[in-house]
């Protein structure tokens, strides 16, 4: 392990100030991803600023039905919090299907949003990776890419975004609240995750030293009829091959409000706006769900081993919509 200096801070402005002042420094929260990446030399900070003492752990209801989740709230706390399970079950479901109980007890919400891809080439410093080392190429394009993205890719990067929570937050139009050298700002989550394009190393709009302090979720009228569905090779402790978060209201066989986002198949948590347009106001039928899924995946690009993900994503969309709409089978995936 490289020699690293370590310090703890107790207020947000000191945290921001310390990291801003040192380009080689980084925040340390739960450490479940940051320490991992440090140990395999993918991230090489010289200084870690431990923010676990900052007062950012609260989970509170906002007037009007919204929710504010402090950046240092742990995944397990948020998943079990009554305000979350009552008002935004989608968030709870997505958290409980991520990681393992031990990791969820450690990992923070801010860290979850900032976690890096599981692409094996990104994590192997002896290989070409534009996200890790810009300009070196992408070994995944014709490599072992079964887990890689089919949406939002570029010729420079096809790495999948790994977060389950972020998929739910994208569906719910959450906002990321940050504090940086220039003060506090709010970023719509759709603007927070940047597709790779020509700069896969640039994943979000945060400045160095800018800290996520909270996530705010607006009221979601359709939250009561929502579902996070995660498809994977094993039942637990694995990243998604495909996942879908949906909140949808169906009245008299017609889809009203619908929010749909995809995980496991895209370079960023993927809001399925094309599908939403077809669904909204249309019939809540398997045929229409399939049409929406086809439209959403029309722009998908595969690279060999991950070709199946295009069909899998379509079918995952249809399944999640059918399940929330209450038919035809309604027993969901994951049950035996």
């Amino acid at each position: 392990m490289r020699p690293i200096s370590y310090s703890r801070v107790t207020d947000v402005s000191a945290a921001v100030g310390t990291v801003t002042a040192d380009p080689a420094s980084a925040f340390l929260a739960g450490g479940t991803n940051a320490v991992d990446l440090l140990r395999i030399y993918v991230e090489q900070p010289a200084r870690l600023v431990d923010i676990n003492d900052l007062p950012l752990g609260e989970i509170e209801q906002l007037p009007g039905g919204g929710l504010r989740i402090g950046a240092l709230a742990r995944m397990s706390e948020v998943a079990e919090h009554p305000s979350v399970t009552d008002r935004h079950p989608l968030i709870s479901q997505s958290l409980l299907q991520g990681a393992s109980p031990q990791l969820r007890n450690m990992a923070s919400i801010g860290g979850n949003l900032m976690q890096r891809t599981r692409c094996t080439y990104f994590r192997d410093i002896s290989t070409a990776c534009n996200k890790r080392t810009p300009g070196t190429g992408c070994a995944a394009l014709d490599g072992i890419n079964r887990g890689h993205a089919v949406l939002g890719t570029s010729e420079h990067c096809i790495a999948t975004h790994p977060s389950d929570l972020a998929v739910a937050l994208v569906a719910l139009d959450a906002e990321v609240v940050t504090e940086g050298p220039d003060g506090r700002r709010r970023v719509a989550i759709d603007d927070f995750y940047l597709p790779p394009e020509d700069t896969p190393d640039v994943e979000h709009p945060l400045d160095h030293g800018e800290l996520i302090v909270a996530v705010e979720v607006p009221p979601a009228p359709a939250a009561a009829t929502s579902l996070y569905l995660k498809v994977r090779d094993r039942e637990s402790y694995e990243f998604a091959l495909a996942s879908a978060a949906v909140a949808m209201r169906v009245d008299g066989g017609t889809v009203g409000e619908v929010r749909l986002a995809l995980g496991g198949v895209a370079t960023v948590p993927w809001r399925a706006r094309r599908a939403e347009r077809i669904l909204t106001g249309g019939p809540a039928t398997t045929e229409n769900f399939a049409a929406a899924a086809r439209e959403e995946l029309a722009s998908a690009v595969s690279h060999g081993m991950n070709e199946f993900k295009i069909e899998l994503a379509r079918r995952t969309i249809v399944r999640v919509l059918e399940t929330v709409a209450g038919g035809p089978s309604g027993d969901g995936a994951g049950a035996r």
């Binding site: 094996t120 072992i144 094993r234 402790y237 899998l312 399944r319 049950a335 035996r336």
Partner: protein, 749 residues
């Protein structure tokens, strides 16, 4: 007092393990301990052009940087021989850091030693090594045309091909023929404890090594060979091992490198492999392809069986896991041909992995048999019974014990097999297509070839210590041997302590191939029997003993005392006898000579596996709902630990069927998923309702207690039962492992 053997006894070391008191090889507290970190080649083929250690050597705490430039040469080329032979057992006949050649990715090219682990890890990143790379070969598809049939495989122990009868004639005679090719992903063991060696030299040149190994003597003999030392100067200790599954069955280079590094820095050195290094430092189950051809009569009686295996081995060894040993003798088939073909690739030599050989070989055979049953139009169990063989078809010898019919019968009852509609795709529950399948299991009973020893000692207070040099790698051997010793002396379990895991103790061959329980229990049983006879002999010849003049054969032992069978009140406690004779202790050493492998009996363990799966019709997800396994492993020493091993084996079979695959990036010749996040093994949520049962058989050939062992048989056949169930659910015949979602995902509409 009911016998301890066969009872459910909680692990005697359980408390030490869960409380952290048990010390593993990487936890031995030694004064002045230094830490070694291995550097593996990032390229899979080529030469080391230059090494620059200057920055690493200047880094804080660094004691040495060793490479082929300065590491002393090993005393002898390693001799590949499975550790069951009891001799030196290097995992491959290549030792790294002897010259500048790189044969495989991850090959050890340098060792950095520092005063702390963190400083050694950091310094390892500062060693600059330039390579001249050449293009590697790592996959079957890259070198199919270069395959050859080796003279011998498996360290020279098994022939490269084998036959009986006339397989071509048998195929001509056949009315039904099944031809199928089965492919298997490479697999890695991934025990929870990565291999670790701690080495310490004393002033007189004696070496003590704490090693995570399945055989302390194997480590001792291997180090003696590589270091050119008398075995008497080497002590190996291995009290607790955190799982192995074959990865610690052979002795890999890191053990000798730890000893060499310790000698170089004149300090004790600990060398622990990282999880990633476990993928390139201690073998794996090789990528392989099996072509199975069955010929049968219209009513399903086999006339011919041809089984060809193709797999990748290293540049230096003709290694294939022996996949055809059980498949060759499973059924009464007069005409058989088995051939191993090998491709040389840029890999370390593959090695044993749980149920080595049969886990793959029996998948091919048992899937083909399922296809045959469908063609014939009979129930798969009935087809197997039609081909049941009362004798070993390779030799005509009777089985030492079998029990296979009883396993089928009991398995069918436990599973609820009868009345099964054999047509595929008929059962649906919601989104799930449901199917059931079964397969036979078999595993050859291998024996050590050299004497197995144990020592039993009773103290004047009646307490007992029994010793044998076997290592405890999670099987429960410590507990089971306590039970064997207690029964042999009629002592309470609490009075008996079993000690293992050291070459200072009587020699037991490495516990591999399901042979550990049989070999160790034989030695322990003979030792306590000899001690009991000494004690009884002393009593019946002692005028002061209530047993004086009794026929020794009429004396029984129970509750820590000896007494006459016909007059139980006439007797005395061991303690009384020893006190009266002023004996602080009495001791006996056993020497069990295993029977020869070819001494007139076919020796196999048999079983039957049943599985029920659900396949999501839209999403392709495959989930195992139920497993039932019934086995005939001879005598069971401890009901609980045997159950655990069999159940663990069955879940491993599920894992082989649906999850485990080490994926090779052929461009670089490197494994692409060398981590436990990317190499999948089942979690609790994947493990379904698993029912384990055994049937009793009379086994009096293999060893004194009739123990065939349960380490391997649990996994065999599970993958085939699952694949056959997937076929039954969906009509899709899986001919590769693992079977994953994309195999079952419907094609785009």
């Amino acid at each position: 007092m009911s016998p301890a053997i066969g009872a459910t006894v909680a692990r005697v070391d359980g408390r030490a393990k869960v409380s952290g008191a048990a010390r593993y090889s990487g936890e031995i507290p030694l004064t002045n301990l230094a830490h070694a970190v291995l550097i593996g080649a990032p390229v899979a083929s080529g030469r080391i052009a230059a090494i620059d250690c200057s920055e690493a050597q200047r880094a804080g705490g660094v004691l040495a940087v060793l490479s082929h430039l300065n590491l002393p040469k090993v005393a002898a080329q390693p001799s590949l021989l499975p550790s069951l032979a009891g001799m030196a057992a290097p995992g491959q006949s290549f030792f790294p850091m002897q010259d500048d050649t790189v044969h495989y990715a991850g090959q050890h090219v340098a060792v950095v030693v520092a005063d702390t682990l963190e400083r050694a890890e950091h310094a390892a990143t500062l060693v600059r090594i330039d390579y001249q790379q050449s293009s590697p070969t790592t996959l079957i598809d890259q070198a199919r045309d270069q395959a050859y049939v080796p003279q011998k495989i498996f360290g020279g122990l098994l022939p490269g091909q084998d036959a009986r009868g006339d397989v071509e004639a048998g195929l001509k005679q056949a009315e039904i023929r099944i031809d199928a090719t089965y492919r298997f992903a490479a697999n890695h063991h991934n025990p929870i404890e990565p291999s670790t060696t701690t080495a310490e030299w004393d002033d007189s040149g004696r070496l003590t090594v704490y090693d995570s190994t399945q055989g302390p003597t194997a480590t001792q003999m291997t180090l003696a060979q590589l270091l050119g030392m008398p075995p008497a100067m080497i002590k190996v200790v291995s009290h607790f091992v955190g799982g192995s599954f074959g990865s610690k069955a052979m002795i890999w280079p890191h053990a000798a490198l730890a000893a060499l590094a310790a000698r170089h820095v004149r300090r004790p050195v600990r060398l622990a492999l990282s999880r990633e290094q476990m993928f390139t430092s201690c073998g794996h189950r090789e990528e392989q392809e099996h072509v199975v051809t069955l010929g049968a009569t219209a009513d399903g009686r086999l006339t011919a069986l041809r089984h060809h295996k193709l797999s990748v081995t290293s540049h230096f060894d003709d290694w294939a896991e022996p996949s055809l040993q059980s498949a060759a003798i499973m059924y009464a088939c007069p005409n058989y041909e088995g051939v191993y073909r090998l491709i040389r690739g840029n890999t370390n030599t593959p090695t044993f992995m749980r149920a080595p050989g049969e886990a793959s070989g029996m998948f091919g055979l048992e899937t083909a048999i399922d296809e045959l049953a469908e063609r014939v139009g009979v129930d798969p169990v009935e087809l197997r019974l039609r081909n049941f063989t009362e004798t070993d078809p390779a030799t005509g010898d009777p089985w030492s014990s079998c029990g296979l019919r009883e396993c089928y019968q009991r398995g069918m009852e436990l599973f609820g097999w009868s009345g099964r509609d054999s047509r595929p795709g008929r059962r649906r529950e919601g989104n799930w297509l449901i199917g059931t399948g079964m397969a036979a299991a078999a595993y050859p009973h291998a024996q050590p070839v050299n004497p197995q020893r144990a020592r039993a000692r009773i103290y004047l207070d009646g307490s007992v210590v029994v010793e044998a040099g076997v290592s405890e790698f999670g099987t429960g051997v410590t507990t089971a041997m306590t039970q064997v010793a207690a029964d042999g002396l009629g002592a309470a379990l609490e009075q008996v302590r079993f000690l293992g895991g050291s070459t200072d103790l009587p020699n037991i061959t490495a516990a591999v191939g399901s042979a550990g329980a049989g070999a160790t229990s034989a030695a322990v049983h003979l030792a306590v029997t000899a001690l009991r006879q000494q004690l009884i002999g002393l009593a019946v010849s002692d005028e002061k003993s209530p047993l004086h003049g009794a026929d020794p054969a009429g004396v029984i032992v129970e509750g820590g005392r000896m007494c006459r069978r016909d007059r139980p009140e006439a007797g005395e406690a061991y303690a009384e006898l020893l006190q009266r004779h002023m004996l602080p202790d009495l001791e006996a050493v056993s020497n069990w000579i295993p029977p020869a492998q070819d001494a007139g009996h076919g020796m196999h363990t048999f079983g039957a596996q049943f599985a029920e799966v659900g396949v999501d019709a839209d999403l392709g997800l495959i989930r195992v709902r139920r497993l039932v396994g019934v086995f005939a492993p001879g005598r069971v020493l401890n009901r609980a630990t045997a159950h655990s091993q069999l159940m663990g084996g069955m879940i491993w079979g599920l894992s082989q069927a649906l999850q485990e695959a080490t994926r090779m990036d052929a461009r670089s010749g490197r494994w692409a998923n060398a981590s436990l996040a990317d190499y999948l093994v089942p979690v609790n949520a994947d493990a379904p309702d698993v029912v384990v049962d055994t049937v009793e058989v009379l086994e009096d050939v293999v060893n004194p207690l009739g123990v065939k062992g349960v380490g391997e048989i649990g996994i065999v056949g599970v993958a085939a039962a699952i694949a056959n169930a997937v076929y039954h659910a969906t009509g899709y015949r899986a001919r590769h492992l693992p079977i994953t979602l994309e195999d079952l995902l419907p094609r785009p509409a």
